[in-house]
């Protein structure tokens, strides 16, 4: 998506960004496709890496924001080096290390840190295409239902906060479309192969079905469309909205949003 957008529309690197929650997302910005690939993708900010770099990995006061993975518990490798992150902080986000650290101490979860970074990016760089991945809800994989519900409520609030930010920033207000979509459904309680809410592994309909919310200019408000669409329809829809041609995409533009 980022590569179609930047190449077709001849957009500069600063116009497409990803704020990603886990160090394992460091390659999310671009593919290795020979017609696109390196240099044509989105720039990526990993807020936890920023925080690790800002604190030189030494302070325990921020450990609750550095949580990285919830399943099993698996992990993503730490990436070496911190110069690039500190440069991102000062040059791009216009934040001093101290300001960043001080604000981070007021936050309670990694997704709150991601939203803080995304807002700063919107104010300082104002990219046309911004992708934010939330991760707190993945606590479901650890099987603690109360923590999962807590994660859902927090993410719901953060999405609302993001929409309010969009409406309050001059570069975005009234001319920005927001898409919110969970990446999976959950296994059905009824499927013996699963374990209820914990995973999305059975391949049953519920684990592969979820919802998407779209809001912005030209999109009808308060309407629910029950027609099944595929997650692969998102990129062609964005292509139709923004004017790029997703040559290799397999989905179709969602007519209700155009």
């Amino acid at each position: 998506m980022f590569e179609y957008f930047r190449k077709d529309l001849k957009r500069p690197p600063s116009d497409a960004w990803v704020v990603a929650p886990s160090n394992g997302f460091n390659r999310i910005g671009e593919s290795s496709h020979r017609s696109y690939g390196p240099g044509l993708g989105a720039r990526v900010i990993l807020p936890k890496r920023l925080l690790t770099a800002a604190t030189s990995g030494r302070s325990n006061d921020y450990q609750h924001l550095l949580r990285d993975n919830y399943e099993t518990p698996y992990f993503a490798p730490e990436l070496a080096g911190s110069e690039f992150e500190l440069q991102q902080l000062e040059m791009i986000l216009k934040l001093s290390v101290d300001d960043f650290k001080n604000h981070a101490q007021t936050l309670s979860s990694p997704d709150e840190l991601s939203l803080y970074v995304a807002r700063q990016l919107m104010r300082q760089v104002a990219p046309s295409l911004l992708w934010i991945t939330m991760h707190d809800i993945d606590i479901a994989h650890a099987g603690a239902y109360s923590l999962y519900v807590e994660g859902i409520r927090r993410t719901d609030r953060l999405c609302s906060d993001l929409w309010k930010t969009i409406q309050s920033e001059p570069e975005y207000a009234g001319k920005t479309t927001l898409f919110i979509l969970p990446d999976f459904g959950r296994d059905s309680d009824e499927d013996a192969g699963g374990n209820g809410f914990q995973h999305h592994r059975t391949g049953d309909a519920l684990s592969r079905t979820t919802w998407m919310l779209a809001a912005g200019p030209g999109i009808r408000e308060g309407v629910a469309f029950d027609r099944a669409v595929d997650s692969t329809d998102l990129v062609p829809t964005l292509g139709s909205m923004l004017g790029f041609v997703p040559s290799f995409a397999q989905g179709k533009p969602i007519g209700e949003l155009l």
């Binding site: 450990q63 924001l65 993975n69 606590i139 603690a144 109360s146 013996a192 914990q198």
Partner: protein
């Protein structure tokens, strides 16, 4: 290698009982499609460490497959036969390492868009097998008991919301000696209907005194094994090149001895079947290494699925508070703070899952289930004679409620 090329020598590395079963049914296995047979072998390779219910199920399945004609066999497995496999999968030594083959098969099905077809073939086969070999009704109706809310002084929200439509809610239960009464009741059942691995007590914390006839799994008793596992995971994670898939493969290969488990005592020999089960709870479950509520729920799910017990008492205990993952992984960290209220919410849903999983077993229409808020007046009972969606204000102790339930 294709199934028709299977030879006894390829099972030389299998444990003795597993080798015997596989060799006995070799001709049958040779007729099965490659997309199916490694899944069956993954079960059979562990035959020596399976519970009696699992062994019986596998034996019946194999006997059924041996009894059908070649055209019937082709018809039963037509869905699996249509799955397209890669040359790499065909060349894999799946007889020796069926679990690793299944990992690669999953990736292949996903990337070739054959997941739906495989799932449909599996569902059709399971339905066919169930019709041909009906599961045995238990000798006595099953009883499930779940105890939730340990350490919670008061809770203002309604409990058992998902279970209430299925049973009777008791709001004036006398809580005195509640746990002991329940443990005595399941001890009496275990004496009246003795059978190996038929009566279980799972505790998400430290186990209370229990009758020796019961199969007991407790989070506290597994603490040294958990600590050893977390240390091992941490050291593996730190190794260069280690990734999540490799870690999962490593965990799947862990055995009790790898985690320092050997609970042989003068009075009790090593129970390798149970120890392997316990290891699997920690290595195959997600979050079981960290949250005791996840452990208790998953242990119940696996005990029901695998051992098909006649009696299962599950007691949830407070889990540790959520902390950063690196801290959670560190077994040397100071004793964690607990979250009793969050644990009650976890356990409330866990009790629903315990009931659901019990109801998946044969004889479900005769089964009974009781959930109790430990130390409090609230309980809910489900059973054939228990009115659904009702509330009782009768004053009764748990022994009486249980007597009404079963």
């Amino acid at each position: 290698m294709l199934p028709r090329e299977l030879k006894p020598v390829q099972f030389a590395g299998y444990p003795p009982e597993a080798r015997k079963v596989v060799t006995n049914y070799l001709v049958t296995l040779q007729q099965l499609p490659l997309s199916f047979v490694p899944g069956l072998l993954r079960e059979l390779i562990e035959y020596d460490f399976k519970f009696p219910a699992e062994r019986k199920a596998r034996e019946k399945e194999l006997a059924y497959l041996r009894s059908v004609s070649t055209p019937q066999m082709e018809e039963i497995f037509q869905g699996f036969a249509r799955i397209r496999l890669s040359p790499q999968l065909e060349q894999f030594d799946w007889a020796k390492a069926p679990a690793q083959f299944i990992e690669q098969l999953s990736a292949h099905l996903w990337s070739t868009h054959q997941l739906d077809a495989f799932r449909q073939a599996s569902t059709d086969y399971a339905d066919r097998l169930r019709a041909a070999v009906p599961p045995e009704v238990p000798p006595v109706p099953r009883l499930g008991i779940t105890v939730i809310g340990q350490g919670v002084a008061s809770y203002g929200e309604p409990l058992f919301r998902k279970l209430r439509p299925h049973g009777a809610y008791f709001s004036r239960v006398k809580p005195e000696d509640g746990l002991k009464r329940l443990l005595d009741a399941i001890a009496a059942r275990s004496k009246a209907h003795p059978a190996p691995y038929a009566h279980w007590y799972i505790d998400g914390g430290e186990e209370a005194d229990y009758a020796p006839e019961l199969t007991c799994v407790s989070y506290r008793a597994l603490e040294p094994a958990r600590a050893a596992l977390l240390r091992r995971m941490q050291s593996e994670i730190d190794r260069p090149g280690m990734g999540p898939e490799a870690l999962r493969t490593l965990l799947a290969q862990m055995r009790p001895a790898d985690l320092g488990m050997n609970r042989e005592s003068i009075s009790k020999p090593v129970d390798e079947v149970l120890e392997r089960f316990e290891v699997s709870l920690l290595t195959e479950g997600s979050g079981t290494q960290i949250f005791s509520t996840s452990f208790a729920q998953w242990a119940a799910r696996e005990a029901l699925r695998r051992a098909q017990p006649l009696t299962l008492l599950v007691r949830f205990a407070p889990r540790q508070r959520q902390k950063p993952m690196n801290e959670l992984l560190s077994p040397s960290a100071a004793r964690p703070a607990f979250d009793p209220m969050g644990s009650l919410v976890d356990a409330d849903l866990g009790s629903y899952y315990n009931w659901l999983n019990q109801q998946r077993l044969p004889g479900a229409e005769q089964s009974s289930f009781l959930v109790w808020f430990e130390g409090h007046n609230q309980a809910l009972a489900i059973g054939p004679s228990m009115p659904r969606g009702t509330e009782s204000t009768s004053v009764a102790d748990l022994e009486q409620v249980l007597a009404w339930t079963v």
